[in-house]
């Protein structure tokens, strides 16, 4: 923790950056901090409650954060993949941001929870994490803690869903998506959703009905998942942001598997690795095409 605060204070003092994006104690557990001075830098923390991915604040659409000047951002391994995503799609120049990587041993699902990190409270994405030390980082702080506890529940849930019949799956998703109120928190919280105007907001024509009835919810969630196919960095923010707790992560993970099994692409924090979107191989599998 101290190492992080000292680094932040030094960067601010040197003028290398004008603001350090990190986490600080808040009224409900930890919350994002925009430290622009030593005092604020002194309040930066890092512990298993720092679930939230701060990279969405680096998107060009966040004009207020941009106004604060050059930023440094504290990133876990999953967050670093989001930085690579923005760099890969020319939303962020790598040299315009200072990345402070933090070695992470897994975070809890709800940042406001007082519970310690345990197999029960660990975030779904953490068990089996392969990027506990982010490679894309200008500085890396903290010792490498033990591997995240617990087993991944989502592999089991996907396998269980895949084992069901098509109609059972349809009923499951219609029920889950039936709760969607189209607040688009999943979109606003996602680092990779940086469109100037989302296709769901395009009214001429209204491809995606704006109403939260099953037809609109289905069209929206299909579009969101597809637009993240091969781009999702698996940071879990969409599922955490959903006020009605729809298991959106399952859709993203399913397509992430398709991207790796079919096209050999796994989410990575190396911006040089091209995303499978917009590229192809002459011999891509086409067993499903007559």
């Amino acid at each position: 923790m101290k190492e992080l605060r000292d680094l932040a204070t030094k960067l601010l003092a040197e003028g290398t950056v004008n603001v350090v994006l990190g986490w600080e104690e808040g009224p409900r557990g930890v919350r994002p901090a925009f430290a622009t001075d030593a005092a604020a830098a002194g309040r930066l923390v890092f512990d298993p409650r720092c679930t939230q991915n701060l990279v969405p604040y680096l998107s060009p659409r966040r004009t207020q954060v941009k106004k604060l000047g050059k930023a440094a951002v504290v990133v876990k391994g999953c967050d670093a993949r989001a930085v690579a995503g923005l760099v890969r799609e020319t939303q962020l120049a790598r040299e315009d941001v200072v990345v402070i990587g933090v070695r992470c041993g897994g975070v809890i699902a709800d940042p406001a929870s007082p519970e310690p990190l345990s197999p029960a409270t660990v975030a779904d994405r953490c068990p089996g994490c392969n990027s506990r030390e982010p490679k894309l980082a200008d500085h890396t702080v903290g010792e490498l803690p033990a591997a995240p506890p617990g087993e991944s529940r989502r592999d089991v849930r996907i396998a269980d869903l895949e084992a069901r019949t098509a109609d059972e799956r349809w009923a499951f998703w219609q029920d889950e998506l039936g709760r969607c109120v189209r607040c688009h928190a999943c979109r606003e919280a996602c680092p990779m959703c940086f469109c100037e105007r989302c296709v769901a907001d395009k009214t001429q024509p209204q491809w995606v009905d704006s109403s939260p009835h099953p037809r609109g919810a289905f069209a929206w969630n299909v579009t969101r998942a597809l637009h993240l196919a091969g781009r999702c960095v698996d940071c879990g923010e969409c599922e955490r942001a959903c006020p009605v707790d729809i298991p959106l992560g399952l859709l993203n993970l399913k397509l992430a598997r398709v991207a790796s099994e079919r096209f050999g692409y796994t989410a990575t924090d190396d911006p040089a690795v091209p995303s499978p979107v917009g590229s192809f191989q002459k011999d891509d599998a086409q067993e499903f095409i007559l």
């Binding site: 098509a166 709760r179 037809r215 499903f288």
Partner: protein, 167 residues
């Protein structure tokens, strides 16, 4: 959603998104060769499979289609050299997602039909129609018609698309 089902047996409605250079011309060839086929398919012409967006397919189902056909040039034959390669990746993601969401496999048919394959186009049309007829009407999106009371919080759970359910 109030399709008049006066005919006893269910006649599926299929929308076909095809590329202008190969499958559309292949369908023309099937026409000039007078190859008789089912009349359930309506063709929407697009310049290339590269232009076919999953949004079209979802919208087709929203507007009453029971099945969708997507077809274009064989790989390496694309008039625009690579439109079908990009489409193939896009369709791969879309098919895996939509089947994970529970749409039965037979509802959407992907195929490559070249300008000289009038015969194959007929088979694609007839087979797809038969598959969709067997699956029954796509029950659309219950809850989007006039409200079924009581609209208590979440809408009433939805019957599975495969189930009969008058459309």
């Amino acid at each position: 959603m109030n399709a008049t089902l006066d005919k006893t047996s269910f006649e599926p409605r299929l929308t076909a998104f095809v590329c202008n250079w190969c499958t559309y011309t292949g369908a023309d060839l099937a026409g000039t060769s007078r190859l008789q086929m089912d009349a359930n398919v309506r063709i929407v012409r697009l310049p290339c499979t590269g232009r076919i967006d999953p949004l079209f397919i979802v919208k087709a189902f929203e507007r009453g289609a029971d099945g969708v056909i997507v077809s274009g040039c064989h790989p390496a034959d694309c008039h625009y050299t690579s439109g079908n390669y990009h489409a193939r990746r896009r369709f791969a993601f879309f098919k895996e997602l939509i089947e994970f969401l529970g749409l039965p496999e037979g509802r959407i048919t992907f195929s490559w039909v070249s300008a000289s394959e009038g015969q194959k186009w007929r088979e694609v049309v007839n087979d797809a129609t038969a598959r969709v007829r067997a699956l029954g009407p796509f029950s659309g999106y219950p809850g989007t018609e006039l409200p079924a009371w009581p609209a208590a919080g979440a809408p009433a759970p939805n019957p599975a698309p495969g189930g009969g359910g008058e459309r």
